[in-house]
Symmetry: C2
Subunit: 150 residues, 2 copies
DNA sequence: TTGGTTATTGCAAATGATTTGCAATAAGAA
DNA sequence: TTCTTATTGCAAATCATTTGCAATAACCAA
């Protein structure tokens, strides 16, 4: 099943004039298998277990290329602003937003139509044109909230 | 009028166990005079014109201290993720959100109650507790949109 | 007003995620 | 298979931000 995604990605990469390499395949697979918005370093470590020859800068370059070509998204969170986290576009829907638990650092994805309402509201007030929105909520997830109640 | 704000800040700093120094005064004044979310470097340059002895790390330490003590807010924008921008809390309301024009890089502040609705929505779905929200819209401001229509 | 305590400063060096130059390698078209 | 050139590995560079340390200056108490 992941293999379908990899095949799809390969087709997309070719369509974009890129080449599918063993490194790219491994990086994509790791990215897709990682449930939770891995960093470049996370992916590097994961792939390295099986293939120690991989270089970290290859991971960075690959992720950047995939991002520039729309196959991957990236985010940063306010509690680790220098760290980029990645997200395959393939398997996820379009716009989704994020909640980050400040205790366990878990990231929860959610969706809401209200952001579109806010975009429209903004255009009503200021004119202009809104291309994208980045919304992140910070707080405690339900488990951490319960744990902290003891 | 800015002087009132500086006096207020001085009182707050003392209340927090800090000391008001000439550097802090200058940094605060520059921050308040800068309309538009300056970076540490912006503030450094501005203060340096009058007082060349100031050191950049003092600017960073001061801004960080002020932020940790709630007198200053900071943000990063997706188009310059490594650069921290600062915002005096004193003169601005509580929660406000931001729009950033991807052409002229202008930052527009706005407010909307809908973010609270989204917070509530999130809690309904996932339980947990939402402490804060960071919403940034990206696009073209009205001027840049008009300019690009020619 | 004067000390004495200690928060704050300036300076230089460290950090750390990410990027880049370059020569070597390998993917894919012919 | 061969040729072109996109991609890799490696090491070094970036660059905003932080940190250690000795010197300085705010502020509290006498």
């Amino acid at each position: 099943m992941q293999f379908d995604l990899i095949d799809t990605a390969e087709a997309q990469i070719h369509a974009l004039g890129g080449r599918m390499t063993s490194q790219r395949r491994m990086i994509l697979r790791a990215l897709i298998e990682c449930a939770d918005h891995p960093t470049a370093e996370d992916i590097y470590q994961k792939v390295k277990e099986k293939n120690p020859a991989l270089n970290l800068s290859t991971v960075y370059r690959t992720l950047r290329w995939l991002e520039e070509h729309g196959l991957v998204n990236s985010r940063r969170f306010d509690d680790e602003p220098r760290l980029e986290r990645f997200d395959p576009v393939v398997q996820k829907g379009e716009d989704h937003f994020h909640f980050r638990c400040r205790m366990c650092n878990q990231i929860i994805e959610f969706d809401t139509p209200l952001v579109n309402t806010i975009k429209a509201e903004f255009v009503d007030c200021f004119s202009g044109y809104v291309e994208s929105a980045n919304l992140i909520l910070y707080g405690l997830c339900s488990e951490c909230l319960n744990n902290s109640k003891e």
